[in-house]
């Protein structure tokens, strides 16, 4: 009847509360959660500055809604972290989430020293069109990532991701609608320039192919699809989204 928790996880078992989470699993789970929370908070904080640059009321509402909902999603995951002892109030304020590097900073996939946001969230947005393009490409990436996250072996977190996945998907749709409007207004060239800026940076956020960490995470049920496969899915989804609004990246 006794079964090692590691074997249980490797066979697809699910954990349901902090009391029997093994130490290394706890650490990887916390990393995953902090990475998500930091990315959402940094993403929302960066986008908040763009709201007023929206060309019309509808655009500003869409942008404000994305900021609101991404902040809410960070809060929901923080509540799961709270059950592991994290001081959520302090966490939300321990870091300047609006901080950005230079537009040309060459950091590859390296994260900053002080938070766990995905590297892509360290780059600044340059105006409305740039922000919409970034949101579309990142929106496709989030959709791909969410599909994997919903299968997580830590049930309380998987449930949060299942609840927020449709809302995150809507953010991608809003970006696509915004981009279609910009295209209609003849912003094709600026869009292409932003696509070529953000494309490699979003692509890098999927990590390296054949990462040894992936196997360890898969054995714990914290990852299911490999980095390479996720990136390929994203490339297909992003290309299709751009094609729908009439953009053919070179």
């Amino acid at each position: 009847m006794d079964m090692r928790i590691e074997d249980y996880l490797a066979e697809g078992g699910v954990l349901s509360n902090p009391t029997n989470v093994p130490p290394r699993y706890r650490a990887e789970l916390m990393k995953l959660m902090t990475s998500f929370v930091d990315s959402e908070l940094a993403g929302a904080a960066g986008f908040a500055d763009i709201i007023n640059q929206g060309p019309g009321i509808a655009e500003r509402i869409a942008a404000a809604r994305i900021v609101l909902e991404k902040t809410d999603h960070a809060g929901r995951v923080l509540r799961v972290m709270e059950s592991f002892g994290v001081d959520a109030d302090r966490y939300a304020n321990h870091h300047p989430w609006t901080a950005r590097l230079d537009r040309d900073a060459d950091i590859g996939a390296t994260r900053g020293n002080h938070d766990m946001r995905l590297a892509v969230f360290n780059y600044p947005l340059e105006g409305w069109t740039d922000a919409v393009v970034m949101n579309l490409l990142m929106g496709c990436a989030v959709a791909v990532q969410m599909a994997d996250f919903q299968k997580l072996s830590y049930q309380p977190l998987a449930e949060v991701f299942r609840a927020i996945a449709p809302v995150e998907a809507r953010h991608g749709e809003l970006a696509e609608e915004g981009l279609a409007r910009l295209m209609a207004e003849g912003a094709g060239e600026a869009i292409l320039a932003s696509v070529s800026y953000w494309w490699p940076r979003v692509a890098a956020s999927f990590g390296q192919a054949g990462s040894p960490r992936f196997e360890a995470l898969r054995a714990m049920g914290l990852r299911h699809t490999g980095n390479e496969a996720l990136r390929e899915k994203w490339e297909a989804a992003a290309m299709a989204a751009l094609a729908r609004v009439g953009i053919q990246p070179g």
């Binding site: 928790i5 009391t19 966490y91 321990h94 002080h114 919903q150 449930e159």
Partner: protein, 355 residues
Amino acid sequence: MARFHDLTVTDVTKTIRDAVVVTLQPEDAEAFDFTQGQYLTFRRDFDGQELRRSYSICAGRQEGHLQVGIKRVEGGAFSTWANEDLQVGDRVQAMVPMGSFFTPLDAASERQYLGFAGGSGITPLLSIIKTTLAVEPGARFTLVYANKGVSTIMFREELEDLKNQHMGRFNVIHILETDAQEIDLFTGLVTQEKCAELFKGWIDIENIDTAFICGPEPMMLGIAAALRAHGLADGQIKFELFASAQPGRVAQRVAAKDAASAANQAEIAYTLDGATRTVSAGKETSLLESAIANQLDAPFACKAGVCSTCRCRVLEGEVEMVANHALEDYEVEKGYVLSCQSYPVTDRVVVDYDQ
């Protein structure tokens, strides 16, 4: 931060030979307003060491009292104490109800539920069943309940009462490991194959909205596999696991063998993912930074003493933790530190990220 509250024991009832149902009166009743399927985490000092154990609430929401079921575990200090020494009038300490082993109820719905319980895994399910049948008059619930034998069935009478009270809406299938029953199918373990057989004629699996599983690990795996094979999505399957291997008594922290010397260097032995490596590092560098500087894949996130991702345990030597916004006192007493905030004091320090 987790906070403990005082509760008074108002009743202790033996259900079977080695399990008790404990009724509790919290001082702050509002704080203990629970949702069906949640659990309480208790703490108690045993020989100067704090132990924490979680037990599921077995009462229904509408019953107006707080009750947990505690089954004695071989060698378990807390469950043995609860079964042998706990008495009416005793004061205990617990955190407010936690856990997400439930789905929202809707009085107007006509949902069909399926529950699987193994042994003491019945406790949260009993709470769920009682509450659901009371709140959703159109709901139907089938429980598959696995036990060693007839004598180890917890809440057997309560379940019979519920069947009579909610005629036609609640059904229990007892599966006994050792005691033979009239129907062969009801003897043995609840495996994936056994579930597949049950789904053929005994359970209308196609119309099940939500399934709840609480039991030992192998049983949960088998049932989940069977449910998925029969078309249930991950979101329709709710799990609750209290591993049989909750960490036991902890060994005393090993005292520092050598005092701090004037030298500003320390030898640090890191254990991570089963491997141990010793490095030499400056005492002005945190345990985490020295690990990273030596290409050790130590876990971390915020580096601000807030998130506790970098938690490790000091097995030997002494460190100074300059900030701590995440670990609780009892963890610190056991030697856990936030490695991003901890600096070597003694010349030799042994830390373990795997504990």
